[in-house]
Each structure stands twice: as structure tokens, then as C-alpha cells.
């Protein structure tokens, strides 16, 4: 926990400096009779972020904040596993949406999560994995008229478009 606290503060401090540098692409100074320039608002706020990070680091050195005193691990082995599986499968699903589209990525994700993580029966898993894309297609594409990304699977939907529109 103690190490994580420092790492987070340092990473966020570096991010603040990057934001300050990026904001400085626009005038950050005071334009007479008008007020601050276009970059001033994010620049000074990013400076505020940096000051906060420094304060967090100072408190880390003096061991005044609870996480900097804690000797518990930031994440134990079980947590790391849960986190990697949870966040990882979600990330893989979003990446897969680019290629095979929502309507194939979503059932695969449900299949993986419910079967591998949840250890549910095949029947529950299959029911949910097939119902979710159908319901979302009817709700989003037909009712809301929001086309969800389909990647390379787009041609498969042409007959459906012809049918509904």
C-alpha cells in the first residue's frame, strides 16, 4: 500500500506536468482588459494538481496519510487475479468490437465471463449470451436508431436492415 501510494502520486505528478506543458500551447498569461488566455484555465488547474501531488508525497514521507502507514498489500494475489480477469476481459471485448463488432464480441465476452469466471451452467450461459445481442439490436438499432459498431461483420446485417427499414 505504501509503495502504491508513492507510485500513484509520482505518476499523477508527471501527468500534471504533461498537462501544464500541453496547456501552454495556448496563451496562459493574462491578456490585458480581457482576463486569462485560452490555456490559462487548464494550465493553472494542472499546476494545482501538481501541488496536490507534492502535498501527497510530503504526507507520504511524513507518514501522515492512512495508505502511507498501511502495511497491507495494495492488492493481494486473489485481488490481482480478479482485477486482471475483470478488467482484462473487458478490454479484450472493447478491442474485439473494432474487429468483429458488438454483436459478436458481446456474446463471446458473456460466454467467457459466465462460464469461466462464474461457472454457470451451459444453459444459463447460452440463454444470456444469445438473448443480450438480440435485445440490444432491437433496442438500439431499431428503436433508438443508434448503429452500434459492427467491424467486419457489417455485411451480415444487410438483410436485417432491409427487413426493418
Amino acid at each position: 500500500m505504501r509503495l502504491a501510494e508513492l507510485v500513484m502520486a509520482v505518476v499523477m505528478a508527471i501527468f500534471s506536468v504533461y498537462l501544464m506543458w500541453k496547456s501552454a500551447e495556448l496563451p496562459i498569461g493574462w491578456i490585458p482588459r480581457e482576463g486569462p488566455g485560452g490555456g490559462a484555465w487548464p494550465f493553472w488547474l494542472a499546476t494545482g494538481m501538481l501541488v496536490c501531488c507534492i502535498a501527497i508525497i510530503v504526507r507520504w514521507i511524513r507518514r501522515t496519510s492512512p495508505p502511507s502507514r498501511s502495511s497491507e498489500p495494495y492488492m493481494d494475489k486473489t485481488t490481482i487475479k480478479l482485477f486482471v480477469v475483470g478488467a482484462g476481459s473487458l478490454g479484450v471485448m472493447i478491442a474485439a468490437i473494432h474487429i468483429i463488432g458488438v454483436y459478436f464480441a458481446v456474446p463471446l465476452f458473456l460466454l467467457f465471463y459466465m462460464r469461466y469466471v462464474g461457472r454457470h451452467q451451459w444453459i444459463t450461459t447460452a440463454a444470456l449470451a444469445s438473448a443480450t445481442p438480440i435485445v440490444s439490436f432491437l433496442f438500439f438499432e431499431i428503436v433508438l436508431r443508434i448503429t452500434l459498431p459492427k467491424g467486419y461483420s457489417e455485411p451480415l446485417f444487410y438483410p436485417l436492415y432491409d427487413f426493418f427499414f
Partner: protein, 506 residues
């Protein structure tokens, strides 16, 4: 009298079949969301907001307000039955609700929670109806300087009353504001903070991307971690006779309920405070007011009634500044406010003049939502208990999918889905280190309103920052904000002064 006729018109709007159906659906969904451990009103509203583009704005906000309302009722269910708060707003309910359930009095606790919620809700809506029009009338005189001062006050409340680590709270506010500045500079029209020249950043970062990232993905990751072990659902038998007995027993708790209602309402009005501090404060006051404070925490029914009345009252109270001043009173109302901006309803006092139908329709729908929440809550208690047994490995992937689609729908850009994923993961990692997340969400909603307010004020004053202090209303709000900001500092100084003194005595 004028208020009554306006409210009457509001009921006409709220009783339109579509709106009435949305209220009932919203209450039911809110109850479910509130009852699920880990998910509260803010998660439900953030995840479901993109789905409401299907109905007209009035219907959409009535639906979301009903979810907010229902979730306040639902939160008590898992607090009592599982001992895990259904939402942060129901934390105080676990203190006495769980011991009561373990003593076999779960039904009594559930009925008291529902009845206290109803009383708290009713009192606060009546207060709301009376307070809103005069406040909006005063707020009509507000200019950009006053608006900016109010936003400073909202952030100062987090720092002064939030109770979280001060540098981390400030950091959260700052990062939210910086993220809201991405896109085009509103005054000069120049692009700014376009990271890596990725075109997706030109349309800015929608507040929903951050809100769904944190309250959807981040929250689920958090719940996956914390609910790793088995949960133990208490038994509750509910018969008509016990129901009547439960209501009779309300007499004992009426003092705490009334106190919780008023306290919750006024805490709710404070910018950014919301229902969580409201219910915790009500619990504390009920304990000190009680003749038998030692029984609190061991199953005192008043310890259920006071915080439950307070969290419902606070949720209504927090809508008052949102509608009249355009300043959210809680994280959930911050998301509602962002939604109103998307729907083209500029929040603030003009809403009462230009969209009176919408405002009064919403207020009337709160009366209806309150009634339906209590009816649905009591009649479907067994159903909600069944929900608690639903395995999280089914809920989690479905919520993840809702988040991904919800993050995509407003802009139809996968870039935003990736950003949301990053915010969710980083938000989760930061939350583990006690970084509060609500200030960042509030900041990204208020940022696009605060920056123009500040810069317009400065253009009006020819660049003199004294405008924020010279105008009487703006000046007094700024003074209150500064006092709130300095409050933690006073505590530190006081602590430092008393330390050597006590040290020398020892």
C-alpha cells in the same frame, strides 16, 4: 395559491400516460439498483442516462429522478438483509438494521425503513415545492460572477465538509476540471489539450464518459473485489399482521423520522453534499437525542428510521439547487444536470420561466414517485430479497456491456469507450488509495459551465478579478466558500496548538 395552480399543471404533465409509466418503471428499477449491493442511485443514473434518449427530455428526467428516488428506498434492503450497504447512502442503515435482522426482526426494520423513507420523502417534497419558486426568483438576478462563485462554493463544500484526505479531494476536483477543458477553447475557438493529435479529443470529453467509467466500470471492479466472499442473506417473513404491527410501531420512531427528514433536506440542499453525509449526520443526531444512546448499533429501530428518512429527504433537497441555481446538490444530481445540458435544458433560474411545464412536471412526478416507491417496496420485498441472491458473475458482465454501449451511444465513437475504460480502471486503482471520485465527476460536469462564467465575468469587468467580491451576492458566496476551504486548515492549526499544551501536561 399560484404555486398550487402551477403544481396542478405539473400533475397534468406527470399523469400523461408515458410519464406515469416512466415514473413507475423508474421506481421499480431504482429499487432493484438500490437493493443490489454496491450499486446506488448514482451508478444507475450514470449507466442508464444514455438509454433515455429514446423519450422526450421531460420524460427522461422524470424517469431518472424516479430511479434516484427508488434507489434511496432500495438501499435499505441490502443494508438490512445482507449487512452490506446497497449504496453509500444506506451505510448508516446497516448500523442498526443488520443487528435487527440478526435478531429476527428483519421485517420490522424493512417496514420502518420504507415508512420512514416515505415520511422523509413527503416532507422534503412539500418543502421543495415551497422553496423552489422564491429561490429561483432570487436567482434570476444572478450573473456570471454569481454563478462562478456558486461553483466555487460547491467545490469548497467537498473540501470543508467532505471528510476525505484534503490534497486528494483537491486533486480530484482539479483533474475533473482539466479533463473538462479538453477540446476547443470556448472563447477563442482554438483547439487545446488534444493529446497525441487524436481526433477524438476535438469534441471534448463528455462527462458521461468519466461518470460511467467511474460509477459503472470502476464500481463493478470494486464490488468484484469486495464481494469475493460469500454473502449471507437473512430471513424475513412478512404477513399482513406483521405489516400492521410494523406500522403501529412507527409511533416510537416518529421523533427520529421527523428530525431525519428536516436535517436530510437541508444537508441535501448544500451544494455537493448529498444523501450520504445527510444520512450519517441524521444517525449521529438521533443517537445523541435518544434517551438510550447505548442501544444504538445493537438494533435500535430509531437508528433505521432516522437515516432512511434523511437520505430520501436529502435526495429531494439536492434537486433544489440543481433546478434553481444550476448547481448540483449531490453526485447523482450532477449527472442529471449534465443530462439536462445534453437535452438542451439550460439548468438555472430561467428554467422556471422558460420551461415551467418541465419543472413542475418533474416536481409533481416526485410526489408520484414517492408514493409508488413505498407501495412497490413493501409489496415486493420477497422479490428484492431474491435479487440479493442473484450471482454477481451474471450481473457484472451485463453491467459491463451496458457501460460499453452506454459510453458509445452519445457520441457514437469507440474512442470514448476506450477513454471510459481507462477512467474506470485508473479510477478504481485511485479509489483503493482513498482518492475520492465524486469531486472529479462534479468537476467535469461543472467545468464547462464554470470556465465561461469566470471568463465572461472577467471580460465584463475589463479583467479585474475584484468582480467576484464587489457584487454583493457573489461576494458573500465567495466569503462562505473561502471559509469552507480554510476549515480544514483551522482544524490543523487548532490541533497543532492543543498538542504541545496537552503534551506538557502529560
Amino acid at each position: 395559491m399560484e404555486i398550487l395552480s402551477l403544481l396542478g399543471n405539473g400533475f397534468l404533465v406527470a399523469f400523461q400516460p408515458l410519464n406515469l409509466a416512466l415514473v413507475i418503471l423508474g421506481c421499480a428499477l431504482g429499487l432493484f439498483i438500490g437493493a443490489m449491493p454496491g450499486l446506488g442511485s448514482v451508478n444507475g443514473v450514470a449507466i442508464l442516462l444514455p438509454m433515455t434518449f429514446i423519450v422526450p427530455p421531460t420524460g427522461a428526467i422524470i424517469f431518472l429522478a424516479a430511479i434516484y428516488y427508488g434507489a434511496m428506498y432500495g438501499g435499505a434492503i441490502s443494508s438490512i438483509m445482507l449487512g452490506i450497504p446497497g449504496a453509500s447512502t444506506a451505510v448508516a442503515t446497516t448500523f442498526d438494521g443488520r443487528p435487527l435482522a440478526l435478531q429476527g426482526l428483519a421485517d420490522r426494520a424493512l417496514i420502518t425503513a420504507a415508512a420512514a423513507s416515505f415520511i422523509g420523502g413527503t416532507i422534503s417534497i412539500v418543502l421543495f415545492t415551497g422553496f423552489a419558486p422564491p429561490l429561483a426568483a432570487v436567482a434570476l438576478a444572478f450573473g456570471s460572477a454569481e454563478e462562478f462563485a456558486l461553483m466555487i462554493l460547491a467545490f469548497a463544500t467537498f473540501v470543508g465538509l467532505g471528510g476525505d484526505d484534503i490534497p486528494k479531494t483537491l486533486f480530484s476536483i482539479f483533474i475533473g476540471l482539466v479533463l473538462s477543458a479538453v477540446g476547443l477553447d470556448i472563447i477563442s475557438g482554438q483547439p487545446r489539450l488534444i493529446f497525441g493529435d487524436i481526433p477524438g479529443f476535438y469534441h471534448g470529453i463528455n462527462f458521461l464518459v468519466l461518470a460511467i467509467g467511474i460509477y459503472g466500470i470502476g464500481e463493478i471492479l470494486w464490488t468484484i473485489e469486495s464481494s469475493g466472499g460469500d454473502v449471507n442473506v437473512s430471513q424475513a417473513t412478512l404477513t399482513f399482521r406483521r405489516l400492521i404491527e410494523g406500522f403501529r410501531g412507527m409511533k416510537e420512531t416518529i421523533k427520529g423520522t421527523l428530525m431525519g427528514s428536516f436535517l436530510g433536506y437541508f444537508v441535501g440542499i448544500l451544494p455537493a453534499a448529498g444523501a450520504t453525509p445527510g444520512s450519517l449526520m441524521a444517525y449521529g443526531v438521533a443517537k445523541t437525542m435518544s434517551k438510550d444512546p447505548d442501544s444504538f448499533g445493537k438494533g435500535n429501530i430509531e437508528g433505521v428510521a432516522a437515516p432512511e428518512a434523511a437520505n430520501n429527504a436529502a435526495s429531494t433537497g439536492s434537486m433544489l439547487p440543481m433546478l434553481t441555481l444550476g448547481i448540483p446538490g449531490s453526485p447523482t444530481t450532477a449527472i442529471l444536470l449534465g443530462g439536462m445540458v445534453i437535452w438542451g435544458l439550460e439548468p438555472g433560474p430561467l428554467l422556471f420561466v422558460e420551461h415551467a411545464e418541465f419543472v413542475w412536471g418533474l416536481i409533481a412526478s416526485l410526489y408520484i414517485a414517492n408514493l409508488f416507491s413505498v407501495l412497490l417496496n413493501i409489496s415486493f420485498i420477497p422479490l428484492f430479497i431474491w435479487v440479493l441472491k442473484l450471482p454477481f458473475t451474471i450481473l457484472a458482465p451485463i453491467i459491463f456491456i451496458l457501460c460499453v454501449i452506454g459510453g458509445y451511444a452519445p457520441t457514437q465513437d469507440l474512442h470514448d469507450v476506450w477513454l471510459m475504460f481507462i477512467f474506470g480502471v485508473v479510477g478504481y486503482l485511485m479509489r483503493k488509495l482513498d482518492y475520492p471520485m465524486a469531486p472529479a465527476v462534479l468537476a467535469i460536469v461543472l467545468g464547462p459551465l464554470a470556465e465561461p462564467a469566470m471568463r465572461q465575468s472577467l471580460i465584463i469587468s475589463n479583467g479585474s478579478p475584484m468582480i467576484f467580491f464587489e457584487r454583493p451576492i457573489a461576494g458573500s458566496i465567495m466569503v462562505v466558500a473561502i471559509v469552507l476551504l480554510l476549515l480544514p486548515l483551522f482544524k490543523v492549526i487548532k490541533g497543532a496548538l492543543s498538542k504541545p499544551a496537552s503534551g506538557s501536561q502529560a
